[in-house]
């Protein structure tokens, strides 16, 4: 559990040819998963993932449908706890502490590790209250107006909504709603923001706004994004992990194939399966 045992190790076996990737060198690992498996009931969704996620980088998780990338992401802030049949094995070390360890409060976990979902999910409240609600709940009530404004500014939404803060968030476009959800997530000053296909329901212009934001936000936060869009991963991510579906007799489950710097994954992947996926021959 000590910090010095937390030195970044070679991320996964398949990529063993490489030591700590260049862009990760010297960076602190925010997450380190060890033998992480997640299942729903008897169905194994993702198996035995060892992955380190580094501070102030954008880490993308790519792979075909059903490869367990969302399940993996949701296991990083105990979001899977909400599904009664879900079970997680292995360890997720967050700054050295296992978030599934004894005495860990999932509410505290989620307060530090925020999330933006696939479909924009603003609360049925005003734009202002969408951002302010989390702040109120967490007792960050000093300078509420200032905090709301800063979060909306960081999410590049302030100029579009400053005149209608008291209006319902449902009146915003899909792209604006998603940036509102991002503002809501960063307003409570998390350490990490997990993004589960945040742009898949958005048009290209809204998507590019979200991507631009990610470049800005990584200075302050550690970002992990699941995407099925390889171009998006190539554009936004410093590190990319490729997951795939390993077929077995009982159906199949997701596995981590390769994890490396993004350019490496897209130009010189070490694994045939990665190459097949990024070149479009498979998946």
């Amino acid at each position: 559990m000590e910090a010095d045992t937390m030195q970044a190790v070679a991320p996964i076996e398949i990529a063993q040819a490489r030591e700590v990737p260049l862009s990760a060198a010297g960076r602190e690992a925010v997450f380190e998963t060890r033998g992480l498996s997640a299942s729903y009931g008897k169905a194994l969704a993702v198996a035995n993932v060892d992955l380190s996620i580094y501070r102030n980088l954008v880490t993308a998780i790519i792979g075909p449908s059903g490869c367990g990338k969302s399940t993996f992401l949701r296991s990083l802030n105990r979001m899977n706890d909400l599904i009664p049949s879900a079970k997680v094995e292995g360890e997720v070390l967050y700054h050295g502490q296992n978030i599934y360890g004894d005495g860990v409060d999932p509410v505290e976990v989620r307060r530090r590790i925020g999330m933006v979902f696939q479909k924009p999910n603003p609360f049925p409240k005003s734009i202002y209250d969408n951002v302010a609600w989390g702040l109120r709940v967490l007792g960050m009530k000093d300078d509420l107006d200032g905090r709301v404004e800063r979060a909306l500014t960081q999410a590049a939404l302030w100029d579009e909504v400053r005149d209608r803060l008291k209006k319902s968030a449902f009146g915003l476009s899909g792209g604006q709603q998603q940036r509102l959800c991002l503002a809501r997530a960063i307003a409570v000053e998390p350490d990490v923001v997990l993004l589960d296909e945040p742009a898949s329901a958005l048009d290209p212009i809204a998507t590019s706004k979200i991507e631009d934001l990610m470049h800005e936000l990584k200075n302050e936060y550690t970002l992990v994004i699941v995407t099925h869009n390889m171009q998006q991963a190539a554009r936004v991510a410093d590190m990319t992990a490729f997951f795939t579906l390993e077929r077995t007799e009982s159906g199949g489950h997701g596995v981590l194939v390769e994890y490396d710097e993004t350019p490496k994954i897209f130009t010189q992947p070490a694994d045939k399966r990665t190459e097949g996926y990024v070149t479009g021959r498979f998946g």
Partner: protein
């Protein structure tokens, strides 16, 4: 170009004619049945209105029953009594019903949730006379009748209605909203209080209004619990108070024909209330659905 008339014929033959006949017949029967249902409601409302309208007057609403044989008099005590009993029953049943629904849909493990749902359905199906006797045995024997004891019986009837209706609207709240709240580091209870409940308020209101309409018309639970009342308007639920449905029963048993007219008139009041509340509930639900769908 000789067309095989038998094989490719597009005109009816005996067999298709029979099928068509059956089709028309069944469609007609179904339509008639639907019309009959509408007609029953219409006939009830019209006949009650015809017989009762003449007895409606200012005195009817503001005075208590006159001495036998004397003209005039009204049902003010029954109106006030029903208001007091039902309001108190609502105050008991609604908070409890909402909490039960929250337990079922937000906190309980799936198996226990199913069990509680089943219990609520059985409770909903209990004959109201049984609830009346139960409350009689529990509260009335030994200490006498009181308005609040009637409210207690009505609350038992309202509880499953409120709980089931609430639980159904809670199920409509998208789980993505709960996830969004929890992902901010909110506890489950704060999530429920801050996001889930406000989102489902419209639906909860609808369920409550329907339960009120149902309770207002219940007679059996009040028979044993709050029926022997003084002929005076009282707002005190510690006293036995008269209620609209029970007063209809009493008036219709009276030998005085003027009382029969009052019974019809009181029936008209009750029917109007139930209709108005049911329609309001419908309207609320439509508006709520629209709001939820954005």
């Amino acid at each position: 170009m000789a067309v095989d008339a038998g094989r490719y014929s597009l005109t009816p033959n005996p067999r298709t004619r029979r099928r068509k006949l059956v089709n028309v017949l069944m469609q007609g029967l179904a339509t008639l049945a639907a019309l009959a249902a509408v007609a029953v409601l219409a006939i009830v409302i019209i006949s009650v209105a015809q017989r009762g309208a003449s007895a409606l007057s200012w005195d009817f609403f503001t005075k208590t029953a006159a001495t036998f044989g004397q003209g005039g008099g009204g049902v003010a005590n029954a109106l006030v009594g029903s208001f007091v009993i039902v309001a108190l029953a609502t105050a008991m049943a609604v908070p409890l019903g909402i909490l039960v629904a929250l337990y079922v849909s937000e906190f309980a493990p799936p198996r226990i949730a199913d069990l509680v749902r089943l219990v609520l359905d059985i409770l909903n199906g209990l004959p109201s006379i049984i609830i009346g006797i139960f409350v009689f045995g529990l509260l009335v024997i030994g200490s006498g009748q009181a308005g609040w004891k009637g409210s207690f019986a009505l609350a038992i009837i309202m509880l499953p209605l409120v709980a089931r209706a609430t639980q159904e609207v809670l199920a409509l709240v998208p789980s993505s909203l709960r996830e969004g709240a929890l992902a901010l580091g909110a506890s489950r209870w704060r999530t429920v209080l801050g996001v889930v409940l406000p989102t489902s308020l419209g639906g909860i209101l609808t369920g409550t209004v329907l339960a009120v309409a149902r309770a207002a018309g219940e007679t059996a639970p009040l028979l044993f619990t709050t029926s022997i009342a003084a002929n005076a308007v009282t707002w005190d639920p510690r006293q036995p108070v008269l209620s609209i449905p029970y007063d209809i029963f009493v008036l219709s048993e009276s030998p005085d024909p003027a009382d029969h007219a009052r019974a019809w008139a009181l029936g008209l009041v009750l029917i109007s209330f139930v209709l108005a509340t049911s329609l309001t509930a419908r309207l609320l639900l439509v508006r709520y659905r629209k709001k939820l769908e954005g």
